[in-house]
Symmetry: C2
DNA sequence: CTAACTGCAAACCCTTTGCAGTCCG
DNA sequence: CGGACTGCAAAGGGTTTGCAGTTAG
């Protein structure tokens, strides 16, 4: 499947009511063609490689839009920056605190047992699991 | 046990090689007398209630020091701010994304099954579980 | 023609830092 | 005395916003 073609991506955006622009198409190409973990700044750099007429504001605006449309998920693993994940299916993460590298852990591999019953007035939104690892100390 | 007396806290700081000052003692009283979740700014406000001659820089310096000494743990649940947790024992969290309220979930209640085997060059630092909830939509 | 999108730059918030003054051992 | 701690204010980095110009339907 040609998931990375402009045609496919443009249709996908239109299908969810997102007007297609050059910048959004390119942001979609970088973020949505395959599972990636990118910060806003990293995304901006990649998008500017091919579409230099892209501003920081547009990247942030588009990320917010994509998040609202459930095309990407925010990962909060580091106080320094937010990371955007193009895998919106339930899954977990392994995070190397030294390198910043993020790896997906499939929901089939890992299970959270014993989630407490919730107060009546709240509902579950999502369960985050972050397995923090670091390079071995010698 | 008088865990909140100045005497006890001062001794506790000295025991781990932290020179005792008025500000540190007060920060310790607010943070360490009982399990709390506080942001730096919230902590500053509480400390200034009793010791107004406390600067923001001192709060941040002291939080870093306390973290290095394993008196508090950083919680990364919200991109807006870091929350400090005076419960340094392994445990998990329930987070209300609407109110910002954080609740501890004891390690005995909840288990993470299936943590993947780690690459040889890294070691496990910690497993974070954040159960995100929100007020029920009507 | 109107509404929506974009770019730029400045504003904003949280956190850290430089520096001078102060205190404790 | 010397090293460490403190306060102030300014710097720093990531994110958001105001506004004017442009584009698409």
């Amino acid at each position: 499947m040609e998931t990375s073609s402009s045609r496919y991506l443009a249709d996908r955006l239109r299908a969810i009511g997102v007007p297609v622009t050059l910048q959004r198409l390119e942001i979609a190409r970088v973020m949505l063609s395959r599972p990636v973990h990118l910060s806003a700044e990293q995304l901006l750099a990649k998008v500017r490689d091919t579409v230099p007429e892209t501003s920081r504001a547009t990247v942030y605006n588009t990320l917010r839009l994509f998040r609202e449309k459930n095309l990407v998920k925010e990962l909060i693993v580091d106080p320094e920056r937010v990371v955007y994940d193009s895998n919106v299916e339930p899954h977990y993460h392994l995070y190397d605190v030294d390198t910043g590298e993020l790896t997906d852990v499939a929901a089939e591999e890992l299970h959270v047992v014993g989630v407490p019953s919730l107060p009546a007035h709240v509902e579950l939104e999502q369960v985050d699991v972050i397995i923090r690892v670091r390079g071995k100390r010698v």
